[in-house]
Symmetry: C2
Subunit: 112 residues, 2 copies
């Protein structure tokens, strides 16, 4: 199995997180599992990478955090949820456009 090097994905971790948050607010552990599932187990984001991305993205104004209970009855520990902002949606769309160009560029240097 080919290992995806972090330097390749670097710069798209934020995009992956935003993709998930585009659907609904979520929290670290869940996002991590979703990234793994969506990528068919081909990419597993490191915890430290994920949580430091949250900090950065909240500073950037791409996401907002809030705390909520684990279940609707108010039982269990509280979790930190993240919600995408308008700026985050805009950023996500820009990254999607950028990706199309980047992909085409890299492809020119690849031989199959």
């Amino acid at each position: 199995m080919v290992e995806i090097s972090s330097d390749v994905i670097r710069g798209y971790n934020d995009t992956m997180i935003l993709y998930i948050l585009m659907k609904e607010p979520s929290y670290g552990y869940e996002i991590s599992k979703q990234i793994r599932t969506i990528s068919d187990d081909k990419y597993v984001i490191k915890e430290t990478t994920l949580y430091s991305a949250f900090t950065r993205m909240e500073k950037n104004g791409h996401i907002e955090s809030f705390t909520a209970d684990q279940d609707p009855n108010g039982n269990g520990k509280k979790r930190t949820y993240y919600r995408i902002t308008e700026a985050g949606k805009q950023y996500y769309r820009e990254k999607c456009e950028e990706w199309d160009i980047t992909k085409d560029v890299v492809e020119k240097f690849i031989e199959h």
Copy 2:
């Protein structure tokens, strides 16, 4: 025009350089121009990035350097040329395989 962020290309600069060296030995300035041309002016590698890549890749054993004259008559300043090694060719092929997987993974998180 969409700017390609360096974090995306990061990890593929080496691959682009190797792609060019797969054909024939070359030197910094020429490689830089070729990357620009091949990418249709969409990507211009920074000088410092390029030359520090050479140092790293020579240490890795992916390339070898030698000096040669600018023209065959022995006139002009000498230039530092780089040649891809067997290990470099192997590495290049691996990066190409990796790219296919990476591309598929990222694509799942992109909406067009």
